[in-house]
Amino acid sequence: MTTFSFDAVAAILLIPPSAAALMAALPNYRVTARLNVVASFLTMLAALSLLVIDRPLPGQYLLVDDLNIVFIVLNTFVGFTTSVFSASYIAHELDTGRLTATNLRFYHAMYQIMMFGMNLAFVSNNIGLMWVAVELATLTTVLMVGIYRTHEALEAAWKYFILGSVGIALALFGTILVYMAAQPVVGEGTNAMVWTVLIQQAARFDPALLNVAFVFLLLGYGTKVGLAPLHAWLPDAHAEGPTPISAVLSGLLLNVALYAVLRFKLLLAASPQAIPPGPLMVTMGLTSLIFAAFMLYRRRDIKRLFAYSSIEHMGIIVFAFGMGGPLANFAGLLHMVMHSLTKSAIFFAVGHIAQVKGTQKIADIKGLTETHPGLGWALVIGVVAIAGLPPLGIFMSEFLVVSSTFARQPLLAIPLVFGLLLAFGALLFRLTGVAFGEPHGSTAPVEASYVPLYSHLALVFAAGIYLPPPLVTWFQHVAAILG
């Protein structure tokens, strides 16, 4: 069985780069768009197979455990649905001449390399390899953010590049410090970078060095999570790139960086003398939440609006994981899954809406539920979900975050609830203008791909009403691992 299950990991890591090589060679964009869907689908199947078959034993480089399976399955699923959305999105971009066939070859190849980077970051057991994988995923998204080559897109890509590089440099320094802390205990060489080895021996590491390392790692990877005050790249990158990329940035790439933070948080928690990592994460999470909630009010660009909403939600998730404990971790995990599904669904809808209206300005988009009921109502459901109204999934996870906070730190619950209500108000305020009222702008029919959009929303809806017991036990188990 071991050889077979190793093959599943190998498939996850091999399908995307080989597909990328093939798509870079094929000239016809219709073929490459389909190939992109097929490759993403196969990767998702390989990831799902990890749930049923025996897992490989952790090696020096790769690891599959209960924690990262959640991330891998989510990552490949959203990667697949986004590729379906992307196929219909880019066809329109080609018609309007914003992208050329050559751009698309590049775009599809980059899409798969990005999936490869993210999957590699999840399955890596080596903190050095994880760093390289995150860097790879960042680089590919930078290239895709700048693909339209307008002034705005290039500025967004440049900003993302510089801030992302600084973040990644700080994360590398943190990684080196972790190695320095491990080296006297574990010995020189690769073993001192293997996460499964580190976590067993962490109690004997020099706590002071681990503390400093964690601060660098939190700042470095936190830049990529989009935590305030290191978030400046995020709204620009979301607003100026192609919408499928906004969907994977919000839905997936932020999770990759979050996953890295969680791994190191576990390492720090395993060392009794080190500072508890929780309060640092709680502070950064709350700051991001409240800052983003205020920023939501003054947005005029619809993609920027939802980019700030991503900062807000990453803040909630980091806050929940920072609180720790079985309930808050469970809530954080659930919130992360729900946010990925909802936010990517919203970007699917927004992508089609911006295409049909020819603008991203909120003021120019009105009365969508009348002119384009399919998209308009999807947006309504998505925004209602992301704002945290019952009965959808995010309501449940936010409720769990708030109630676990009330039970343990009632004072912290006050700013948390304040931030949530503030964001709630802003989103609903913007939604009413966009979705209802007198129609404004183009009313041309739209060839949208509704399947990925509504399947995400259906999952979020289902999760809000009924969580299957196996899923609950699985998440509870992962929450227990997270400590």
């Binding site: 002034h151 590049f161 320095m180 020099d206 005029r300 660009d301 300005k361």
Partner: protein, 220 residues
Amino acid sequence: MNGLTFDIAHLLAGGLVLVSFMMLYQDRLFALINVFALHAVVLALSVAWQAYIQDAHHLYVTAAIALVFKAIVIPVGLHRIIQRLGIHRDIETAVGIGPTMLAGIGLVTLSMVLMLRVTPEADPLAREDLAFALSIILLGLLVMVTRRNAVSQVVGFMSLENGLVLAATGAKGMPLVVEISVAFSILIAFIVIGVFLFRIRERFDSVDVGALDDYRGERR
């Protein structure tokens, strides 16, 4: 380890911090790039010395990358780009030289206090390397925030990255150092090509990031 090998390693790492300081007050782009080339040469010497005293032959590869790529290829390439773009006049520093130097001294003090305090048990060479490396990283960040010109921001980033390489080679027996330095070289090549292409293809009036800022933000 005898006194002389330790002193040489110390001298080279300290020299790197000194060259980082020299970057802070350069107000011409060509001069800045020349100082950066010097930075890369000192880094190469330092890494090669580490390779020699640790008897770690793979580190010679990192040293060679630093020497060939960062001390020769990139500076020559940047010289060409600057000439093509016609921006060789001077650098617009966002903050004056005096405050920048003071801030630099503050950052070096900070990193010394921080790193030497948290690593009392580590190998003395490694801990001093780490303290120097953090100083270089922070000085690189300082160059990035005090310059508004895209090329000098890239130079700041590259000096920051030299600090990372110093830290990685100082950590005895750290795996993946060569791979990471290759990954960084690719990243830098991307940045440099990016700066060049943006200008050529898009005909920006300058590569001054301040000009990019004009396009920023909420389109109304």
